[in-house]
């Protein structure tokens, strides 16, 4: 059986997803054995960035024009393309700059702006069609495994779409939002992390991004009743999802 040809591409991000895929998850050796690695900077010198690929995994936010051009090329040379990680899926941390005017953000970081060609940040599906979303910062074990094995088995991956609360209850954690009034984002956040933070008695800060069925205004109202200020609430909803919350997907976040 020929192994699927895999390409791993990075845009603006910390590269944690590639690290997770090839080193940190539970099955790195099996992953390397199951796929033919055609391009992935962390495991292969050189490689063939032009492809073709059976599967392209793309991490990172699109924050520069050349990245959008590159992304379109990857799409053309890949049978399947999955966005991997909060940055590629939701905009993630790099999309925080969407909260301020571009020039203002650039000026905060760089003295000389002439070599800076930064654009408004977007997740990859703002530019290309995406076949699957492997959420998380970094991705959770279950969805990553499901994505890779689904490609191998040539089936549609069954990603988790419920709230973090479901995983939290499966573990029997006492709910820190309801019992202790901690501002947990679990009720609106897509599952996949196995409720990592609430299990450590820390409120979820939504690194897996809002789930599609999230009722963000209702949770914001709850946070208000706990005494959070408007700016605290806004920060909570924009930490990993600034682009989605503010612009392109606002309509999808509130169903009905």
């Amino acid at each position: 059986m020929t192994r699927p040809r895999l390409g791993f591409f990075k845009f603006s991000c910390c590269a944690g997803c590639e690290f997770q895929t090839f080193y940190f998850q539970k099955h790195p050796a099996e992953t390397l054995a199951a796929f033919e690695i055609v391009f992935a900077k962390m495991v292969l010198r050189g490689g063939a960035p032009e492809g073709p690929f059976d599967l392209a995994l793309v991490e990172g936010t699109i924050t520069e024009a050349w990245q959008a051009d590159e992304l379109k090329k990857i799409r053309k040379s890949s049978a399947l393309l999955f966005a991997i990680g909060a940055c590629a899926v939701n905009g993630g941390i790099p999309a925080l700059k969407a909260l301020a005017p571009e020039l203002e953000v650039e000026g905060k970081v760089y003295k000389n702006l002439s070599p800076i060609h930064s654009i408004r940040p977007h997740p990859v599906d703002a530019y290309i069609q995406v076949d699957g979303y492997i959420r998380g910062c970094p991705p959770g074990e279950r969805d990553l495994h499901e994505a890779l094995t689904s490609v191998l088995a040539q089936k549609k991956p069954g990603f988790l779409r419920c709230a973090v609360c479901v995983e939290c209850k499966l573990k029997g954690n006492i709910c820190i939002l309801t019992a202790y009034g901690m501002p947990c984002m679990g009720p609106v956040t897509n599952a996949g992390c196995d409720a990592l933070c609430p299990t450590c008695k820390r409120p979820c800060y939504s690194c897996f991004g809002l789930m599609k069925q999230a009722n963000a205004p209702a949770l914001a109202k709850k946070f208000r009743s706990l005494g959070l200020s408007e700016s605290d609430i806004r920060r909570k909803f924009t930490l990993f999802d600034a682009d989605a919350a503010l612009f392109s997907k606002a309509d999808k976040l509130n169903e009905d």
Binding site: G158, C162, C165, V166, G172, P187, N215, A218, E255, D256
Partner: protein
């Protein structure tokens, strides 16, 4: 339907004892040699059901726990069903049935009724072998409640605070300050019961039990009128309370479903190994509040949040045709653990009084 032959032959004679608490707990402790004893234990400021290493750990005067012992120890949040291996031949391997003999001590009346409800699902038309194994290997020591918690409405549902059923569990305790009234319900429990300093319970003890029940009943603040309730809900699928509650308050987080002791839905998941040689098939609790739940090829029966919220509430308060009983035991968990405090009894009231 409860009983199902799962809890041994009915007691040849009912055995009722007055047992000093110290002596009761000594007896319970002695059972740990051959049983895994699970009971209410105070952890930080909450009580959870878990296995005890000593009866000293028990906190019997507990308020409702977040998860019911029946759902965790008889059903199980997540469990392996079987493993398929694709070798030269295809083999299917089931995990061995757990040999654990367990006692669940201190299970409230509502939660005992919730076990009867799970029995209807898992020991009904289809007998689930995993549930059946655990159910028959588990003795239930039920406990009558002395006081209601804020959201309890079991008294409206006939499921508490005192347990009226006489079958389907092994022993019933009533707290009489320094002693328990112990009512033994099964032969297997009668054989096992050898606490010291017991007296047989006389009419005076049962008079004290009645008094306790009356005082427990006085502590209820939440009620629901079940008269014609199922019909009222069935006739009002478009009542504004559904949409309003769904839009303004429901987060689709599914906490209500996960904590509900009668919610029995699960998803079946296949996990393929990277070498494509084995599949692990397991099940885990699923929730109708997740939009994915009612999704089928080409559409979704409950794409709207309103429809999902209504599904949960009507399964509890309307769907009596499923098993001939209401789907709620009135434990109040879905109210307590809903982050926005959505209260199905309030929704029912709005519909019953036809208030918009």
């Amino acid at each position: 339907m409860y009983g199902n032959g799962m809890t041994g032959a009915p007691a040849s004679r009912i055995s009722d004892f007055l047992v000093p608490k110290a002596s009761f707990f000594r007896w319970l402790d002695s059972l740990r040699e051959s049983f895994s004893v699970v009971g209410p234990v105070a952890e930080e400021d909450r009580t959870v059901f878990r296995e005890i290493a000593s009866a000293d750990e028990l906190h019997m005067e507990y308020a409702s726990t977040m998860l019911s012992p029946g759902k965790v120890y008889l059903y199980s949040p997540r469990e392996d069903l079987f493993r398929i291996s694709f070798g030269k031949d295809l083999t299917i391997e089931e995990p061995p049935r757990s040999p654990v003999q367990r006692i669940i001590a201190g299970i409230h009346a509502c939660d005992t009724h919730a076990v009867f409800y799970l029995d209807r699902t898992f020991l009904g038309a289809f007998r689930d072998p995993l549930y059946e194994n655990r159910r028959s290997n588990t003795m239930l020591i039920a406990l009558n409640c002395s006081a209601a918690s804020r959201n309890c409405f079991c008294s409206s549902m006939g499921a508490g605070p005192f347990l009226k059923a006489e079958k389907g569990y092994d022993m019933l305790l009533t707290d009489l300050e320094d002693a328990y009234l112990v009512e033994i319900r099964t032969e297997r429990c009668r054989v096992l019961f050898n606490a010291d300093a017991t007296q047989s319970a006389d009419a005076e003890v049962f008079r004290r039990k009645e008094e306790k029940e009356r005082s427990a009943l006085r502590t209820f603040t939440k009620t629901i009128n079940t008269d014609g309730l199922d019909r009222a809900l069935r006739e009002n699928p478009e009542h504004p309370v559904w949409g309003r509650t769904a839009d303004e308050r429901c987060l689709s987080c599914a906490n209500c479903v996960m904590v509900c002791p009668t919610c029995f839905c699960h998803d079946v998941v296949d996990e393929l190994s990277m070498d494509m040689k084995t599949v692990r098939r397991y099940r885990e609790w699923d929730a109708c509040q997740d939009a994915r739940f009612a999704e089928v090829h080409g559409g979704n029966f409950r794409a709207r949040r309103t429809a999902r919220l209504r599904q949960f509430v009507t399964h509890k308060l309307d769907q009596t045709h499923q098993y001939g009983v209401f789907g709620t035991v009135g434990c109040g968990r879905c109210i307590t653990w809903c982050p926005t405090g959505i209260d199905l009894t309030e929704m029912a009231k709005a519909i019953q009084t036809r208030k918009a």
